[in-house]
Amino acid sequence: MPMSTNQNTDFCIFWQMEMQLMLHISPSIYLAEFSTDGRLLHTNASMYEWLGASPLKSLLNPTFEQLLDMTAPLSNPVYNGFLTIGDAQGTFISLQALVFRKDERLLIVGGMDAKQLADHNTRLSHLNAEISNLQRQLIREKVTLEATYQQLNQVNASLKESNATKDKFLSIMAHDLRSPLTALMGLSEVLMENSDQYSREEMNTFIRLINEAAVKTYRLLDDLLVWSRSQMGKMPFNPGSMKLDQLCHEVIEVLNQTAATKRITFDVKVAEDTLVFADEAMIKTVLRNLVSNAIKFSWSDSVVTIFSEQGPSDAMLTVGLADKGVGMTEEAMTKLWSLSELLSTKGTNNEEGTGLGLLICKEFVEKQGGRIWVDSRQGEGSTFCFTVPMA
């Protein structure tokens, strides 16, 4: 409740000492007295902190000159409003201030409007809470966007992969199937039109060539079929335990004929009781591909060694096929396993391949939980190894 004038006088006299003390120590009261010629006559501690080395310059708004120009009836303030003090380049504050003038002296009394400060503070704190909540929303949306972006990248990569698969399929169709079929057509045409002009021997040669072209076409189609089925995840997978050395001998049996044309022999260093846990069709395809590759790239009269050893872990077996043959460069080794780099190299006897064989091997080895790799030196030979779980 505001006080009456009488009470006020009494109050001020009664508390005079305390009021004086307050004026000088309170951090919320700002006091300064200037002479009109610009000398600082008196300040309290809180004001002194802001006026610093050059008090006149610290009166930023209104300035000292502006205050001098202001006039008012006796004992009324010449100025009532915000007074900004401080260092224009640094920090400053706005005080709620009254400025009085008596004779050649100016009195500045200022302070902070606690109610206004508190009100602003509350509003700012609500604003901050709101912004902080909003920031969380944004963080969350960013995280979601990043996840979506990653998914898109993955889908994109697999689309590229399947596009490469399709391209490869088409190019095999276009090139690799074309040449044996052209041979078939040409040879059969010759036979059809001029069969009476050829000797029996010549006829036999033609028939043999026709058969070779047919076999090659068949093999190519077979590889394509296996590979595209595995690409589409349509290969049945029924692993069981089986004897590795028996599998090796069965595969060699089928390919012995081909090996014989280059007088290549096999040395199977697999213990009789070595059991693997594999899908029979898959592991046989892997072995068949690796053996026929070895034959293809071996020098005539050489030996292909098949071996097995435990490792790299207790439960895994490493199976290897070493040949003495053309081998390959570092660069060729890195390109072996990728569809986009697919290359087919001619063998020592100009044998042709589809370039799909090793990709099929990789798929099947990995499907069975293993890994496949090659070690090779150009001009000396290659060793292909793969791992397979032991039974």
């Binding site: 503070n121 969380r136 969350r140 995280v143």
Partner: protein, 233 residues
Amino acid sequence: MFIPQNTQRFSLMDIDTDRQSGFLNTLLAGERSLASNMVADFIREGVSVDDIYEQLLKSSLYKIGVLWETGRIGVATEHLASAIVQAIMNDLYPTIAATRKQPKTVVLACVENEQHQVGIKMVSDVFELAGWTTHFLGAGLPTDDLVRFMNSVRPQVLALSMALSFNWPTLEKMLQTIRRIFPSLPILVGGQAFGKGGQERLLAFSNVTYLSDLYTLKALLTNPASFINANVH
């Protein structure tokens, strides 16, 4: 049905008192980046988010409450500290937001008129870390808006926070309204008002459970036999 009793400790690591008071001092000084760095250090040391929330952020804010109560700091400092704490929670939030979500949704809000939102924000993060999709609605939301929102997202759980004891009547009114529209929805409540007694007033409502802190909440969320998880398919 599994309801955790009182505040059991599920924490693996305690933050020592020296570092707690160091952190409190940076908060009081308003040193946002220093405080952020301290929390980042704790994370690097392997301290979990719930331990940081309970033993660092919450314990500091409680101490700030005491400083305010005993007249040593003003509301402005309280504002500053809770602003820094929320900024730090946002520092941690990208990892929290990236947790894999299951099809479980929770709506979280303060009791009407309640401005204290730090606690329920922490609760929201613990839900999110447990794989829940969270809708944190914050402070000052009228019950009508809350109900409208719940109708649109159909949560499996509602979580409400109340810090001020004089908000009890508001809470009871809210629970009545919500129960009329969602008769069996599990509701979790928490906040400092409950620590001051009056929990028996919750008995008037079915399936409303009070939890004291993040550890009991985490236990509830990770226990497959809890009533919350039993309701989720």
